[in-house]
Every structure is written in C-alpha cells, then in structure tokens.
Amino acid sequence: MGVMATLSTTLAPTVALVRRKAAEAGKNIEIVECLCEGAFEAVMAADTATHDRIVGDALTKRMQGVDVIVLAQASMARVLETLPRAQSARRACESGAGCAAHAGYPRCLRKRYFVVGLLGVVSVITFLDRMAIAVVGPLIQGELHLTPRSGVGCSAPM
C-alpha cells in the first residue's frame, strides 16, 4: 500500500492510522511512504500547476507496484484528472478507499463560505441604510417641516 502526502506532518500520522487499522483488521500490509517535497509550498504560493506536476510525477514513478494508494490530503486528488487510467483511481477515492483527509474537513468551515457570508451581511446593511431615510421619511417630514416635494427618500437603481 502506498501512502502519499505533501507534508511530513501529515504523512506520519496517516501512515500510523493505516497501520493501526490494518492491525485491527488482522491484515499484514507493507506500506510505501511518499513525501511530495515542494508540492505544499507550491500550492500555498498559488502555483497549482507545480503542485500537480510534483504529485503526478510521484504518483506515476514512485508508486509503481503498489496495490492501493492513499492520498493523505484530499487536495491531491485533483491530480488524478490529469493521469491515464484515472477512472479506476477516482472510483477508489470516491468509494472511500483513500482520501482520509476528506473526513476531517467539514464543508461548512471553508473560508470562502465565510467570505460570501460577510458579503451577504454587508448587502443587508447597505440596503437597510439605503431605505432608512425612506421608511422613517414621514417622521423626518413632521419634525423638520418638509413636504414630499422635497423628496424625503434615497435610492439606488438596484
């Protein structure tokens, strides 16, 4: 069994997890460890092409002869799309044979959803602001002795 990761701090615990689960199942397995050096730094620098190249090279050259490959980080799975015979590997990944990292990463905690949430909040606030003078207009008219001709309201096209 091959275990691949882009970080040593991920590789070691994943290998330990696989060994423990194999022992619990009474299986005797041989593990080939593969650290894709430089791939994590590449993706953190927004260079996904270099990340994909490093992981792809490791997958095709250093994992030959293994029966099953575990990708310790789900982000590595994107590389499968670019490789030949990727279909069978994808099926294995989707069926839960690999990609253990999926389990520890709830969708709701993705940072981009917080970003969209903050934009939604400011969208609510800006429309409250825009309409405030219109909905309290009758009160302003009364206190400042204005008429509707003064246009007590404010707007935006949409």
Binding site: Q73, S75, G120, S123, V124, A134, V136, G153, A156
Partner: protein, 310 residues
C-alpha cells in the same frame, strides 16, 4: 434630496470599482463601509433640508462601488462553478435588507426617534468594516488557517486578481443581436420607486398609517427575494433566438410591460390589499429581469476583453 444620493451613487460607482481592481477589495470595501457609516451617523444630526441633501450626497459617494467590489471578491475567492451561487446569496441578501428595513426600522424609530435609526445603522456598518479589515485578505493563500485542500479547490481564481481595463462603452451602449448591452438593465430601473418613494407614497397618497407601512412595505422585497432565487425563469443565454435585434429579449419586453401595467393598476385602486398585492407582484416581476440583465453587460465586457487578448 431624493436625487442627491442617486446622482452621487451613479457618478462614483465605476471609479470605486476601478479602485478595487487597483488597490484590492480589502482596502476598498473597508473604505466604502467606513465612509457610508460616517455619513449615515451624520444624518442623525441633520436639522435642515440643505444638511440632509449634503449628507445624503456624500453618503452616496461612499456607498458607490460596494457591489462591483463584492463581485471582485468572488472572482478571487470562488471557483467559477460557485460564482453564480455567490451572486445569488449577495443579491438575495439585498432584498432581505429591503424587507427588514420597514419591519425593523419603523418600530425602532417609533420607540427611540428617527435619529436613533441612523446611529444604529452607522454602528453596524462600522463593526462590519472593522471585521472585514481584520479578517479578510485579497488572496486566499494569505488568510490564516486556510487548508491546502481549499486552496486547490479555489484553483486558478486565487491569482492576484484581474487588472483593470477600460470598459468597452461601444458594445455596452450599442445594440446587438446577441443581446450584449446594458439596455436590459435600464428596464429594471423601475425598482428605484420601491427604494425611496414607495413608503412615502403609501403614507401620503394611499393613506396607510406609519405602522401599516412598516409591515406592508416589506412585502415587495420578500417576493423579490423569491424572484432572485428563481433566476433560471428569467435567464436566457446571450445568443438565444429570443434576443431581438435591439439587444432586448422578448422576455424582458413582456416582463417590463407586465410590470408597467401592474404599477399603473396600483395607482387606480383604493383597496389597501389590492395596492400591496399589485406592488409586490410588480416588484417580483421586475426582479425576474435583473438576473438576466447582468449577463448582458458581462457578455459585452467579457467578449471585448477576450478579443483584446486575442
């Protein structure tokens, strides 16, 4: 006073969007929300018509650019397949804000006075700007705690962001058989009525009490939220046979005509129930046009940008 905000908003919308392209949306959205919060607060201290006009004009200067910069944020942070959903969240939230305004602000104004409303909204805006500046980063890779998995999911959109290019005014203003112009957007401008005159009209012309207005003025926006979520009903891709030679789809023309008839009908009935129903349905139909109007502009800008690079 009514026009002061609109003129300022119109004048500064494009420059504020361009500033976001140049300086990043972290800085620009912080500036926008802080600016509008200051002038929202100052509204509470106005004691004359002239002061209100000046403050609302400057409020409009600050508020301009919020939505263009929000779109810029989504282009950096969301994968292409999630951007339409992101736009739906932001525009749906705007209608929610419109619905909440009469429901919440009228009771607050009744209890604490109208000036308290602007102080409260200024505090909300200021708090948002602090959170945004403190937490948000223009590049996903710069934000604390983001995982390599999410960076990979965001993919190519986590680049530095696009460079600013001059708008292709010719293709935006001109007619096109593919429907790529901003003229469909013009048909949506009737919503202007709802954002400013509708509450005043309800009280002054239709004889609703202020308390009744505080409830029923929210109905059009609640239906508008539904329309925003049903955008597939209105969307037809550029190049669809329904787009006629003037760049307006038959779909838009029909919806616009229906809106006009309903608004005219609203002015002729005396029943308050009928007024609320006609106003709400009219606004909901108007909001069905808006999601389809945006792609017309995008088609113009995008096609021109692509041809420039080719």
């Amino acid at each position: 006073m009514l026009s002061a905000y609109v003129i300022a908003y119109g004048l500064f919308e494009i420059p504020a969007g361009a500033l976001g392209d140049r300086n990043g949306q972290r800085l620009e959205l912080t500036r926008i929300s802080a600016w509008w919060s200051v002038f929202t607060a100052l509204t509470a201290w106005c004691t004359s018509f002239t002061q209100l006009v000046g403050v609302r004009f400057l409020f409009g200067v600050g508020a301009a650019g919020a939505y263009p910069n929000a779109s810029g944020v989504m282009s950096r942070w969301l994968p292409a397949k999630e951007r339409a959903r992101g736009q739906g969240v932001v525009w749906g939230a705007s209608r929610l804000g419109g619905a909440l305004a009469p429901l919440t602000l009228v009771p607050i104004a009744g209890a604490f006075g109208w000036r308290s409303v602007f102080v409260l909204l200024a505090i909300l805006g200021a708090v948002w700007s602090v959170i945004w500046w403190w937490w948000y980063r223009d590049r996903p890779v710069q934000i604390a705690g983001i995982s390599a998995q999410e960076l990979a999911e965001i993919g190519g959109s986590q680049r530095e962001g696009g460079t600013h290019q001059a708008p292709p005014w010719g293709s935006c203003c001109g007619s096109s058989s593919s429907g790529s112009s901003f003229w469909p957007m013009v048909l949506c401008l009737g919503s202007w009525f709802y954002f400013n005159w509708f509450p005043t009209w309800m009280v002054s012309a239709a004889h609703f009490s202020t308390r009744e207005m505080g409830v029923y003025a929210s109905f059009p926006f609640l239906l508008g939220t539904v329309s925003q979520s049903r955008r597939r009903l209105a969307l037809r891709p550029a190049g669809h046979p329904a787009w006629n030679s003037s760049g307006l789809s038959d779909h838009h023309v029909h919806l616009s005509a229906a809106t006009s008839v309903l608004l005219f009908g609203m002015t002729t009935v005396s029943s308050q129930v009928a007024i609320v129903v006609l106003a709400s349905v009219s606004f909901a139909i108007m909001d069905l046009m808006l999601p389809a109007a945006w792609p017309c502009v995008c088609a113009s800008v995008g096609r021109t940008a692509v041809s420039r690079r080719a």
